[in-house]
C-alpha cells in the first residue's frame, strides 16, 4: 500500500510557497524592472543566486542561520516561540528563498516587456502607481504571472537538497522527492518507481497546461 502523505506534504508546501512568493514577488519584480538605482545589479544577483547555488549550500546556510544557537534562531525562539530547522515552517522558508528567482524573473521580464507608455498613460490619466499596477500592469502580464506561478510550484515540488538540509527526513517534512530517495535507500524500488512516475506525470501535466494556456490567449502585450 502506497503512503500518499509525502505527496500531500509536497502539494501543501508547493501551494503555500507559491502563494507567498506570488505576493512578495510583485513588489520585488516591479522594483527590479523599473528602479534606476545604480546598485540594482547587486539585488538582481541576490535574487538569482538560488539558480546557480548548489541546493545543499543554500540548505546548509539556512540550517546554520536558523539553528537554535544562531542569533536569529534564538531571536525567533525567544520572541515567537518558533524553531525552523526540521519543521514544515522551515521547509516553507527554504522553499521561498530557493524558488524566488522562478517567480521574480518571469514577472520582471513581463513588466520590462510592457511598453513604458502604458504606465505613463495611466499616470497622466490621474491614476497612482498602485492603481496603475493593479488596473493596467498586472492584467497585461498574465502570461508572465502564470509562468512564474507554475515554475515556482513545479520547482518546489522537485526540491531535494534544500528540503533535506533544513527539513530532514521526518514524518512532518518528508516530501515526495525525499520519499523517493528514502525508498531507494531501503531498496524498495517498487515504491520509488511509483513516486517517481507520479512526480513525472504531474510535472509534465503542469507544463503542458501552461503551454496550452499561453498558446490560447494569455499573450503578453507586444
Amino acid at each position: 500500500m502506497i503512503d500518499w502523505t509525502p505527496f500531500l506534504i509536497t502539494l501543501k508546501l508547493a501551494f503555500i510557497t507559491t502563494s507567498i512568493l506570488f505576493v512578495i514577488s510583485i513588489p520585488i519584480s516591479y522594483w527590479l524592472a523599473y528602479s534606476k538605482v545604480k546598485l540594482k545589479f547587486v539585488f538582481e544577483a541576490m535574487v538569482s543566486l538560488p539558480l546557480v547555488l548548489p541546493p545543499s549550500v543554500l540548505g546548509f546556510y539556512l540550517l546554520v542561520t536558523f539553528s537554535g544557537e544562531s542569533p536569529l534562531g534564538q531571536f525567533l525562539a525567544n520572541n515567537f516561540d518558533l524553531s525552523l530547522p526540521f519543521t514544515f515552517a522551515g521547509l516553507v522558508v527554504g522553499s521561498i528563498i530557493y524558488s524566488l528567482p522562478f517567480m521574480v524573473q518571469p514577472m520582471q521580464a513581463g513588466f520590462q516587456n510592457l511598453p513604458i507608455a502604458l504606465k505613463e498613460a495611466s499616470y497622466t490619466l490621474g491614476k497612482s502607481r498602485l492603481q496603475t499596477l493593479i488596473k493596467v500592469l498586472l492584467p497585461n502580464i498574465k502570461a508572465s504571472l502564470l509562468t512564474g506561478i507554475v515554475l515556482s510550484f513545479a520547482h518546489t515540488i522537485g526540491e531535494f537538497g534544500v528540503v533535506l538540509m533544513i527539513g530532514g527526513n521526518l514524518d512532518e517534512t518528508r516530501v515526495a522527492s525525499i520519499a523517493i530517495y528514502d525508498s531507494v535507500n531501503k531498496l524498495d524500488y517498487s515504491t520509488a518507481h511509483t513516486y517517481s512516475l507520479v512526480l513525472l506525470l504531474f510535472s509534465f501535466s503542469i507544463l503542458a497546461v501552461v503551454y496550452l494556456f499561453n498558446k490560447k490567449g494569455f499573450r503578453a502585450v507586444k
Partner: protein, 358 residues
C-alpha cells in the same frame, strides 16, 4: 493662460542636449510645436505632463503652479489633469474601448460629454471591442476620446498621427480640429511635419537647437522670419550668403563673396563684419522690371524653366547662388524667357532679410 519657462539638460544618442523653452499659450487654443526629430519636442511634452522633471524653471496653468524649481514645487503627473495622446496611442490592451475611454474619469462620469465625444469620434459601434481588434485610425480616435473625456486642463499630443498613412492622417487632422472646436480644450500639438503644423494651428512654435526659435502665426513665420531656420520653415526661400558691410538703422548692406551688395532689412545680424544669410521669397523677385523703385537689381543667368501653368518656376544663377528660384507669372514677359539668356532681377530692400548664417 499656460506659461512655461523651463530648462533641461540630458543625454541623447551620446550627445548632450540642452533644452531651454519659454512660451505662453492661451487656454482653449491649439498651439503647434514644429521641429525636426530628436530636437527635444517630446521632452517638452514630458516636462509639461510631469513625466519628466525639468532641471529648473516654472510651469503654470492659470493660477495653478505645476512646477517651480525655486520653490521646490512639482505636481505629480497624476495630479496635473493632463490628457496625453501618445504616438503609439498606448491604449490599455486588457480593457474594452469603453473602459479605456472612461479610465481617466473620476467619480460620476458626465454622460452627456461622453455621448458627445463618442458621437464625434464615431465610436458607438466600437465600445465593446478590445483595442487589438481596431484599425490604426480607430485606435487613434479612442486614444483621443480617452484624452479628452475627463476634461483635462491641458491636452498634449505627441506626433499622434505619425503612424497613420497620408490619407488617414489628413482626415484625422481635420477630425482633431473639429473635436477641438466643439470642446474647446487647450492643446499642445507636437509634429515634425510642416503641413500638419500649419493645418492644426494658427499659432506655431518653431523649435530647433533646444529652443523655440519663433512663435507666431503662419503668415508672420513666412513673411517675417527672425532667423535662417525659421525662414526655411514654410514655402520656398532663396538664400544668399555674405557679410554685413554697413548698417544704417533698420537697414543694412550685405556683401557677397563675389562683391555684389544687397540692401536688406537688418533682422538677425548685429554688427559690421557679421556673416549673414540674406533670405528672400521667390515671388518677391521681379524679372526685367523697368520699375526704378527697387533698391536691389542684379544680372542673372536663366538655368532652368519649369512650366507650372499659372507661373513658370525659373531657376537662375545670381549673387553666387545657382539655385535661386523666381516664380514668374505666366504672362507675356514670362513666356518669353529662354534658358541660357541673361535677365535682370530686382527686389525691394524690405523684402530681403539679413539673417544669421546657417
Amino acid at each position: 493662460m499656460i506659461k512655461f519657462d523651463i530648462h533641461k539638460q540630458f543625454k541623447s544618442h551620446g550627445k548632450i542636449v540642452d533644452i531651454k523653452l519659454n512660451a505662453t499659450c492661451d487656454e482653449g487654443k491649439i498651439i503647434a510645436v514644429y521641429g525636426k526629430s530628436g530636437v527635444g519636442k517630446s521632452s517638452l511634452l514630458r516636462m509639461l505632463s510631469g513625466l519628466t522633471t525639468p532641471d529648473s524653471g516654472v510651469i503654470t496653468v492659470g493660477k495653478e503652479v505645476w512646477y517651480d524649481s525655486s520653490k521646490k514645487e512639482n505636481v505629480k503627473a497624476n495630479k496635473r489633469s493632463i490628457g496625453f495622446l501618445f504616438q503609439d496611442y498606448s491604449l490599455f490592451p486588457n480593457m474594452s474601448v469603453l473602459k479605456n475611454i472612461l479610465y481617466g474619469v473620476e467619480g460620476e462620469p458626465d454622460q452627456e460629454l461622453i455621448d458627445r465625444i463618442v458621437e464625434i469620434g464615431d465610436l458607438k459601434d466600437l465600445l465593446d471591442r478590445k483595442p487589438e481588434t481596431l484599425s490604426g485610425g480607430q485606435q487613434q480616435r479612442v486614444a483621443l476620446a480617452r484624452a479628452l473625456v475627463f476634461e483635462p486642463r491641458l491636452v498634449l499630443m505627441d506626433e499622434p498621427l505619425g503612424a497613420l498613412d497620408k490619407k488617414l492622417r489628413e482626415q484625422m487632422q481635420y477630425e482633431i480640429k473639429h473635436i477641438h472646436e466643439q470642446i474647446g480644450i487647450t492643446v499642445v500639438y507636437v509634429t515634425h511635419d510642416q503641413n500638419e503644423a500649419l493645418t492644426m494651428s494658427n499659432r506655431i512654435a518653431v523649435f530647433n537647437d533646444g529652443k523655440i526659435q519663433q512663435i507666431s502665426s503662419p503668415d508672420i513665420l513666412y513673411e517675417k522670419p527672425e532667423n535662417a531656420f525659421v525662414a526655411q520653415f514654410i514655402g520656398e526661400n532663396n538664400q544668399i550668403k555674405g557679410k554685413v558691410k554697413s548698417i544704417n538703422g533698420e537697414m543694412c548692406v550685405v556683401k557677397t563673396e563675389k562683391g555684389e551688395e544687397i540692401k536688406s532689412l537688418k533682422v538677425n545680424v548685429n554688427s559690421v563684419g557679421d556673416a549673414s544669410t540674406v533670405s528672400l521669397r521667390p515671388e518677391r523677385v521681379e524679372i526685367n522690371s523697368s520699375d526704378s523703385s527697387f533698391e536691389n537689381s542684379f544680372e542673372a543667368k536663366v538655368k532652368e524653366l519649369i512650366y507650372l501653368g499659372d507661373h513658370i518656376r525659373t531657376r537662375v544663377e545670381v549673387c553666387g547662388n545657382d539655385q535661386f528660384i523666381v516664380k514668374v507669372p505666366n504672362s507675356y514677359k514670362g513666356a518669353n524667357l529662354k534658358e541660357g539668356t541673361s535677365v535682370k532681377l530686382s527686389w525691394k530692400a524690405s523684402d530681403s532679410r539679413a539673417l544669421d548664417l546657417r
